[in-house]
Symmetry: C2
Subunit: 212 residues, 2 copies
């Protein structure tokens, strides 16, 4: 046990992975995640087929169904594994800086082909993708929880009034970005992101709605 | 000619329509629009088939292809005919009132099943619906042109600074509404719309970006 490598060390060599208990399971898992992401990048979510993922990963289709259930389960697992480790936005010292940082982070994510394909095809809720709603709820809830810290910091700094609602403000700043990119099909250039940040800065100072 | 009814009177009775030159053409057109909208409401855009529209309208499929070309042409025609007559938002006397009026108008549109189906399925730009981009560009351009008057009036009233960019502000107010409804799957209640209006009111006062 003393000579055992730390659990988080990666073993690119298959034999090394197989030598450990759980090595094959972990290897199959990684191969399936890679194959899922490659398929998402190529054909998107709607056209993704579990048997194409299985063929690409070199595993039996039944292995995938047994472990992850359905296409939704498979994509959820890939999404959580590769995008689940959300890092709180860096503290730039000002709300304006933090807002621009957040917008640039979202833009960076949307430059990853499989993330963009997933957002375009599976992000909007349609009758056809109702099986994804639960995953989407978890995704946005996790994302908002981590990103909301920006507005909490701004309240602490005295830049925003107490009682500010981070969830509402995250909708106000994320909404136009997705609308611009997804619905209008326009580029997310720096100038646009900065104008959005300034707009949000002023809008947020409206504060919570007056009681009554 | 003196006894001719005004052009805008509708003839629900087929014989009356057939008695006029162009009567059959107009009747087929109305039947095809009705059938397109009924199919959109039932199956959405992605699953809509031209032969199902033809069968429902009681016309030959080739008639539709000859007159409107493709599925995109057909849906464009239905959209322009039934949603193309955009009316400028009513002047409530204040920017806040106008913003709430605009948001409620958009919400009302999204309560129409075929409009909602079209926005959910065909609004977001994917690789699969690239044939719709031109239609979407025309749709948003027309919509923004008509709705932008809200911000022009606010500048005239002195509520917003000169140089205000109506297109940018329309993105800022429409974006969160579509994000909330389409991506988060949440209801558009009055409270949310009013908070959005207050946020936009303050955000818009940030004015155009400083030169340099």
């Amino acid at each position: 046990m003393a000579g055992e490598p730390p659990q988080d060390v990666q073993h690119p060599h298959a034999d090394a992975a197989m030598a450990r208990p759980g090595g094959r399971t972990a290897r199959v898992r990684e191969a399936v995640i890679d194959a899922t992401i490659a398929e998402l990048s190529e054909v998107g979510y709607a056209a993704l087929r579990v048997d194409a993922v299985a063929a690409r990963a070199g595993v039996n289709k039944t292995t995938i169904y047994r472990r992850w259930g359905t296409k939704v389960g498979l994509v959820s697992m890939a999404l959580i594994e590769r995008r689940g480790r959300l890092v709180p936005p860096a503290d730039t010292g000002t709300l304006r800086g933090d807002l621009i940082g957040l917008l640039k982070e979202i833009r960076l994510g949307l430059k990853v082909p499989w993330v963009a394909a997933l957002q375009r095809e599976a992000g909007p809720r349609t009758a056809a993708n109702a099986d994804l709603y639960e995953l989407l709820d978890r995704f946005w809830s996790a994302r908002f929880k981590v990103s909301g810290v920006i507005f909490e910091r701004a309240v602490e700094r005295g830049e925003l009034p107490a009682g500010t609602d981070p969830g509402f403000l995250l909708e106000m700043i994320s909404g136009p970005l997705y609308f611009h990119w997804l619905m209008l099909g326009r580029p997310l250039d720096d100038d646009f992101l900065e104008r959005m940040a300034d707009f949000t800065l002023h809008g947020a100072q409206a504060g919570p709605p007056a009681a009554g």
